[in-house]
């Protein structure tokens, strides 16, 4: 029956193949948008990545609750640390999964075969990862607020979360694309990622903690600056070296 289906459209091929050659250059933005759209569409369908990240994040918070005995006083002091450790751990799940999806059915080759700039692939995956990261944070932050009666709705904290997540996925996307191409791919990502990520963690924890404890702005600025510098430096570096990670 299916054989018939193939034979029937034979006349169609004339029109199929007579379409004139596509425009000279596939635009950077169009490719970028397509990659982000594709990641979101796939995730919307399976919801595997987000739900795994989310459940994992909540579990980490729960474990911290018992490990640190988060009483009223400690809560304020360690909230920033607990949150960033949670994001970092949940983030590696997302990064690994997002790049493994490109590797499994050879899709990365499919992207590389297309006449698009390699940086469009990097930034597409990076923004996709950033969106997932932010979605998890958007849910975890209010839940944390609720569970521990800590007010996390502060504009400063949101800026820190944004800057921190940006740097995290910038380096994370680059290193995850390396990790999935190795034999030890499941265990390698955190080992590669965390030591390089330490300045970002310190700055994010300090800045978030600063906002939560109402420390004066001029003591928080150095940390915000450090976050900014980290983001700019590593987005630039990743942009420059990504070609060497995906191309042979």
């Amino acid at each position: 029956m299916e054989t018939q289906k193939i034979e029937k459209p034979a006349p169609m091929i004339e029109t199929v193949l007579s379409i004139e050659s596509p425009p000279a250059r596939a635009g950077f933005l169009r490719a970028l948008g397509a990659i982000i759209w594709k990641d979101l569409a796939a995730e919307l369908r399976s919801r595997e990545l987000l739900s795994a990240m989310l459940v994992f994040a909540l579990l980490v918070i729960l474990i911290f609750n018992f490990a640190l005995e988060l009483d009223a006083q400690t809560r304020y002091n360690v909230a920033a640390g607990v949150l960033w450790v949670t994001f970092a751990f949940a983030g590696t799940l997302g990064l690994n999964r997002s790049m493994a999806m490109e590797k499994d059915r050879g899709c990365l080759d499919g992207l590389l075969l297309a006449p698009v700039d390699r940086s469009a692939i990097y930034f597409g995956k990076m923004f996709g990862n950033l969106i997932f990261m932010l979605l998890v944070e958007v849910i975890v932050l209010p839940v944390y607020s609720l569970l521990y009666n800590v007010n996390l709705f502060q504009p400063g904290l949101i800026v820190v979360t944004l800057l921190g997540s940006m740097g995290y996925v910038a380096v994370g996307t680059l290193l995850a694309s390396m990790a999935v191409q190795t034999r030890t791919r499941d265990i390698l990502l955190p080992i590669l990622l965390f030591p390089v990520m330490i300045p970002l963690f310190i700055a994010a924890v300090k800045a978030s903690g600063g906002f939560l404890q109402g420390i004066p702005m001029d003591e928080i600025w150095p940390w915000l600056n450090l976050l900014l510098v980290y983001d700019v430096v590593f987005i630039a570096v990743a942009f420059m070296v990504f070609d060497y990670i995906v191309e042979e």
Binding site: P195, V196, P199, V233, V237, A238, V241, I245
Partner: protein, 232 residues
Amino acid sequence: MASKPVALKILDIITILLLLVATGLVFFFAPLERVMGLVQKVFYFHVAAGWVGMLGFLVAAMVGGIYLARGERKWDIVGLASVEIGMAFAFINVVTGSIWARPIWNTWWTWDPRLTTATIMLLIYAAYLMLRSGIEDPDRRARFGAVYAIVGFISVPLTFFSARLFRTIHPVVIGTNQPGAEGAFDMTADMRLVFFFSLFTFSVIFVDLLWHRIRLGQLQDQVEQLKLKFNV
């Protein structure tokens, strides 16, 4: 290639002599520090080892860049060689630091920025070695190694800066001294001489070891080539 080049033999001898002289200077020429006493002598080799560690990682990042630009295999051999040597010396640096810290700071370990940075640096390059061992294809191994050597090295000053924003108790002997750093001291002219001599000696040791390690890498390649020639 088969036998050791004469220049390398000469460098070996010079290196050994320099090390002997440096050791002699440290113990018999450099004056005893008033407050800390004998344990201060660890400082000369401690800083020199730290310097060689950094030098190794810097070289690895630089040849990483060259490898990515040119794709020549020899640069990968140099990169791996400098990371391995850098790690050995960074480790010596941390251990000697610990030996010094025990009597002076009264603890083996403290979360001081330099100590923390040095340790994180060791972890970065341990990750570098793990990354390499997880890749079969030699070209990919070289490319990924180069990229990680660059990314890792760039993160080091940021790590140091962020750790330093936490208050420090590490003495800053070179450059401006922060008030309140425990175990700080001013170097006399003789101390300075011994210090720079140690730095020079360790730099020569680095060059000598690097040369040996590169040679080892090349020999490994030759063995590999012979295997391919006779087995396939």
